[in-house]
Symmetry: C2
Subunit: 340 residues, 2 copies
């Protein structure tokens, strides 16, 4: 920058202003500076800028994994919302491991992000404390807890589970199962578990046994997970009539396994998934599912942060916002009324 200022015959301050807010500089001076920048191929150093201004324009996003199209969509939505305002995402993976999440959060704090977006509302005690003391906006996404650490953008996974159960019950079934992953140990999918919990509760409310909820394998689930847990479920209850899978991925895996075993879907077994993944829509038969707008979650989180970070002085800034984007039951071809 001092090379530029020398070549342009102005102070560094003026160069800085040309870059940050050109309107503050006279047309003539600006031209000189721009020419010098061009000539020298000068690229401003935002590391230095960040240190000086105490703003990095980094926003940390902590997700279980990026190889899940729902989270990838949220990341994409977040990145798109923030891009125009010149923020850079710092993405961290946890692989559904709370210890790893804590480690990632600690490491990220050293990069001094302006805000943090974190998937999930269950954290280690230490991680929660670090987040609470961070002194920057925090947005928890993919669920809406009663008391977020700061802000939350998501939906109720518990209610998703209840809605799933009610749909299957409304079709006349009484032997109803579910496919999920294990909820013990450090590596677990709390959101999926919430859905199973809501599912079981609604079953019991209707006087239906909740003993066919299978929890096997570690998150993240896969097509293979769906195929295998379907096998376990059938071994336990050959007469099962309807199944809710915590993810369309598992639902598709279960559907393919039914194909292989010669079980007709939905005539013999109804299957309901979650997530409205592309593949569920394209499957044959197309998977009934519960849809969440993952990209919108990312976008709303981004917009919320922008409204806080870019707020004018004295402007009203949202406090402890809880945004529920809801969800939607989509009945396609894999769920059908009993006996029809």
């Amino acid at each position: 920058m001092s090379d530029v200022s020398k070549l342009a015959g102005v102070s560094k301050m003026t160069v800085s202003r040309v870059l940050a807010d050109p309107a503050l500089v006279s047309e003539e001076t600006r031209q000189k500076v721009m020419k010098a920048i061009e000539k020298l191929g000068y690229v401003p150093d935002r590391i230095a800028g960040s240190l000086s201004s105490r703003r990095t324009n980094f926003i940390t996003a902590i997700l279980p994994t990026l190889t899940n199209s729902n989270f990838a969509d949220s990341a994409q939505g977040l990145a798109n919302a923030l891009r125009a305002a010149d923020y850079q995402l710092l993405i961290g993976y946890t692989m559904y491991d709370l210890q790893e999440e804590e480690r990632v959060i600690r490491t990220m704090m050293e990069r001094r992000p302006d805000a943090i977006v974190v998937a999930g509302t269950v954290h280690t005690k230490m991680a929660s404390e670090v987040l609470m003391r961070a002194g920057i906006p925090i947005v928890e996404i993919w669920d809406v807890p009663e008391h977020p650490i700061d802000h939350a953008v998501g939906f109720s996974n518990y209610e998703v589970g209840r809605t799933a159960a009610k749909h299957l019950i409304s079709l006349g079934f009484t032997r109803i199962g579910a496919l999920g992953s294990r909820a013990d140990g450090d590596v677990k999918d709390w959101r999926g578990e919430s859905r199973l919990l809501g599912f079981g509760a609604a079953l019991r409310e209707a006087g239906i046994a909740d003993d066919l909820i299978i929890r096997e394998g570690s998150a993240p689930v896969s097509y293979d997970h769906g195929a295998k847990t379907l096998g376990s479920l059938l071994a336990k209850a050959p007469d099962v009539e309807a199944i809710f899978a915590v993810s369309d991925i598992s639902a598709v895996g279960a559907l393919m396994e039914c194909h292989r075993r010669g079980i007709h879907v939905p005539d013999q077994i109804s299957i309901l998934g979650f997530g409205d993944f592309d593949i569920g829509r394209q499957c044959y038969p197309a998977i009934s599912t519960i849809r969440v707008d993952a990209q919108m979650i990312g976008r709303k989180a981004g917009e919320l942060l922008l409204s806080i970070l870019e707020a004018e002085k004295d402007a009203a800034v949202p406090e402890g916002a809880r945004v529920d984007v809801g969800f939607q039951l989509i009945v396609r071809e894999t769920t059908k009324r009993l006996g029809r």
Copy 2:
């Protein structure tokens, strides 16, 4: 940090050493410093550290999109390889748009990454220049050009196309088509196009017409893309016997469309995909494909960078490395010899 040094009764330099290389500090002093750090909840500021040391430990990764499991796998592989050495990925999306890629590269340079990993070997002239002048290691991934900007880790997409054609030819087919996306304009998938080019070349070498190569829609392809382009292909050539899709995603979409139209795969049409996506494996019938180890590409790129960035003084550092990870034809159920 100066708070810590005061509380511990040592200089800032000693605190810095405890954090960077504890072995340089006496056991006793180290304990005092650690205690002070703990008590104050001190979190080092790596922005300041980066400015001072002229190393950010950022590595930029520029990908077309993260909502493609192949690129997500590469990102994951890269992140895993770099994580132990304490590097943070700075991920940028281009959505297959070369102008956007140039913009992203320019913006990223301001963050002073220690290295850049970029998917693809086709860039705008300006983007190539910026990369060449960056003065840091550059790794192009997902192809292995004759003359990389710096390093390259990937495979020959052109040869993938040739292998695909040869497989279908070896099964006895002569009416052979392909499904890809448009290759004009700024938004395009050069890797997919390379595969189509190799495919067409191998067809012609065998004396087979290459007029059934469909290029429709913009990258990234989708299940829907496969379904629609299959429709276009059938409209043009109802007698088509075998199809190569530039991605398993398109292949699955085409397969589902065949289901819907009552076309039997592989008895009436053989389908070969690319990428060995999970879903292709789980599909019924399972998709024949060409497999690339996407995660390995990321990992090898990461290891290459580590060997350069973490090299001891005077250690031999690879120059202009070209790593070809190859690919593998996997014949499953959607390709079958003519007339059997």
